[in-house]
Symmetry: C2
Subunit: 500 residues, 2 copies
């Protein structure tokens, strides 16, 4: 057996190669989503599959397991970062080896088939058409959840979440979501009443030329701290943040009829980008140097979008910028009108169009259905009815068809059970981070009013970005805010924003 210290060093080399290949794959994914001609699809799929297979081979090679065992025996000789790195290596290894090759292949085939049928079934609202394939995906997901859970020592649903948000625990999320679920109906009623009493909103009038929108987006990105020497803004059908920390690539799409969706999308993705860009430089290409998980990642995009840039303070800055950018919209661009435009509450059926107040309801519904499906308490055939019933309870609306219901999101049809909670955990974490940052640095809101973000960025770098995966999500939140994650701050934020 290799000596423990050497083992750890050899593991660093292995995981460095792994991360480098994953970065290469990340760039190829960016290209595929932004500039690749359609005819390049099959060649690209082969390139990505080959890189994935090589990564899997490196990770599951018997020597990797031996090195991990040996390095763990010599853990006492490592410093905190190294120990955290080793723990992340072990977690990655556990996930990679939890499923046998047969299961991985079966899942990959099931998911590909199911997603293709879902694309046709969704616009028709035809759940029955995708049912047999989704049923297969769900069966395999249950089996793989059980296999992962055994290795990770957690519940099967937690094992699924662990792929996106390591260490996520159902009991904690149950409590947080129960609290918000109880708060929402009455609060939503008050918000809608309050909104109805306000003067009529003035809508900005277009057209808003794409080139002008792009310049505006880049100007705002630069204000937020995005460094174009280390990144790009491009267009894609579905906006995303990709690339690598030295070369972060975000995307958006433009409609010339209105600019808010694109601009807020850019701000959102910039939040993700700044997290990636400011991960600990010394730990580049090591597991401990990666982003902590998707709940923290979402917290960074939502902090930027929801906490900082849909605020009254930012709307004062934005009002000036917009008046310089798009002529003849003075009334619409008045700061208070902007603030209200960017914080309009309107319950609806579609998650991705939901406002800040009702968004968690969409997530809570999916989370509870996922839990029940994985536990086996809910039959797949009963999902549409359960969805509609749950939606009525949470938001008081009757879902007109499965198209606006359980067919709307790609996640289940793509095998991504366990992802949904990250969105709302992120929103709540964002509120808690932002409040803590403003408490520690009271000048932040006044700076935001001037379009300045350096102090906020400094706090985020010190308390979140620079930690990588050296601490767990609960540890990061507790260290940065002095408390575990709770709904109180998020609710306070909503009350302040939506009832004043």
């Amino acid at each position: 057996m290799t000596a423990p210290v050497n083992s750890y060093g050899l593991l660093e080399s292995r995981f460095r190669r792994l991360a480098t290949l994953q970065e290469a794959a990340g760039m190829l994914h960016w290209d595929m989503a932004t500039v690749m001609p359609d005819g390049g699809r099959s060649a690209r799929a082969e390139q990505l599959a080959t890189i994935e297979v090589i990564c899997h081979e490196v990770l599951t090679a018997p020597e990797t397991a031996d090195l991990l065992d040996s390095a763990e025996m010599g853990k006492a000789g490592l410093n905190d970062w190294q120990r955290a790195n080793l723990a992340e290596m072990r977690r990655t290894h556990t996930h990679a080896t939890a499923l046998d090759a047969q299961m991985v292949e079966a899942m990959s085939r099931a998911v590909t088939a199911c997603e293709a049928v879902w694309r046709v079934a969704r616009p028709k609202g035809d759940f029955a058409a995708v049912f047999p394939l989704l049923s297969e995906v769900l069966n395999l997901t249950r089996q793989s959840a059980a296999a992962r859970a055994e290795k990770l020592g957690c519940s099967p649903y937690e094992a699924l979440m662990d792929r996106f948000e390591p260490g996520a625990r159902e009991a904690e999320i149950d409590a947080v979501f129960a609290d918000y679920g109880a708060f929402l109906p009455e609060f939503l009623g008050r918000v809608l009443e309050h909104q109805a009493r306000l003067p009529k909103l003035v809508e900005p009038k277009g057209p808003f030329p794409q080139a002008v929108q792009k310049d505006l987006a880049k100007r705002i990105m630069a204000q937020l701290g995005f460094d174009f020497h280390h990144g790009r803004l491009d267009e894609s059908l579905h906006p995303f943040c990709g690339g690598v920390p030295e070369d972060v690539r975000i995307t958006t799409r433009y409609s010339e009829d209105e600019f808010v969706q694109s601009l807020m999308g850019v701000i959102h993705e910039t939040g993700h980008a700044l997290y990636e860009r400011n991960l600990p430089q010394d730990w580049r290409l090591q597991p401990v140097g990666q982003a902590r998980g998707m709940a923290i990642h979402e917290s960074q995009s939502l902090l930027m979008e929801m906490q900082a840039c849909r605020s009254g303070a930012f709307c004062k800055y934005l009002s000036r910028v917009l008046s310089e950018t798009f002529p003849n919209n003075d009334a619409a661009f008045a700061p208070e009108n902007l603030r209200r435009l960017y914080s309009r509450v309107q319950p609806g059926f579609i998650r991705v169009e939901a406002d800040e107040v009702t968004y968690p309801a969409h997530v809570i519904l999916r989370y509870r259905l996922e839990q029940a499906l994985i536990r086996g308490d809910l039959q797949l055939a009963d999902v549409p009815a359960a969805w509609n019933e749950g939606f009525k309870k949470l938001l008081g609306l009757d879902v007109p068809s499965d198209r606006e219901g359980c067919l709307q999101d790609i996640h289940w049809y793509d095998g991504a059970f366990g992802y949904f909670p990250c969105y709302s955990l992120g929103a709540m974490t964002a509120a808690q981070f932002f409040e803590a940052a403003c408490k520690a640095k009271p000048e932040i809101p006044a700076e935001i009013e001037q379009g300045k973000f350096a102090t906020l960025q400094g706090w985020l770098n010190a308390n979140v970005h620079g930690l990588g995966s050296s601490l767990s999500t609960p540890e990061i939140i507790a260290k940065a805010t002095g408390r575990p994650l709770e709904t109180a701050v998020f609710k306070r934020h909503l009350e302040r924003r939506y009832l004043n």
Copy 2:
């Protein structure tokens, strides 16, 4: 030992992985040259180096050598394509294993250092500054040439050429170049005299907006047969053809003062692109499915640019297109004026700016100096004097400084000894291919006058593109044109174009 037939199958899998990784690297190179922000450089270098190391590991693994031995023993059981594929595998393997890891690393380090100093030394014309580093590159090149030559069973200089143009032989190239070198001085004198007697040329007047140039380029590319469903046109500092056969990416750069350089560059790169796009689909990702070598590759770009698109026939078509594209240039865009603009002969010092007639002189000079350097017949310190003397003999001009002399090209400073002959072999091969195509399909010139290229493309696909590497370069030329490569056709072409 694995059974021969199985060995061959296993080799196909190995080389498929290798080619797929190289395609991924190719896309990352494209990205680096076109869209990557500067700050992404070091991360990208690491991605590319990692992929290269993995390819090298696959290729030099002991099992690969065993499989090759075993498959060669069972060669009789393979068909022609498989046998040719196996031979290409062996050639690739021989190159990869000819140098030990120490030599590869020393060369990589020497070349990186030398190229960096050359970038500073060139504008100053300071050969002495780069001399010690180039001396190191040359020493290592001599050693590696000897090592490769031993394995390949050829001369050291041939071993260097073999990296770019497999199987190239000095005796054949010597003969071809001697013939052209003897022909040139007197011919050039006649061309210049003839040109001087013609009426004054009318230069097109700009500005020529970049967006309009880009649309024009795409229109012409489509006429030539470029399929935008399987490729792109972008901008980069140095134009190139990259990507993969399903997704061929060519680049150009624009100056708003004039459009000819960019347009002819696009046509040139489209020639490369069509070769890549039409390689044998059944042999994708196998060595035998790749382009034959750089001489054939250059022949495809030069056939399109020099033979087809600088012709009088194409100028008739182009005249109509240009008049629709750029206003107020009717006299300049007259077909005969265009033809003369695109075939102006003007001896000069810089290879990349040279016309079709004098270009081979630049290549012949470099080829002879490279041979002498590798053989040891010429000392590096004597290169500037030898350059200037050779240049005077071939083109009758006195080189004013090493900036316009032996410092102008990156090749030597980058370790690419043996590449230069490909350019002129390509030009001569292009003439021979084009003449054979027009003989086989006499309608080609009339079609080109209409901007139509389908018949020409059909001939090229059948006689060149679709063969991949299944035949050697001399075999491809002989089969397609009925003769070995000779200067006669090229000289005939020049006489027809430049003395009429």
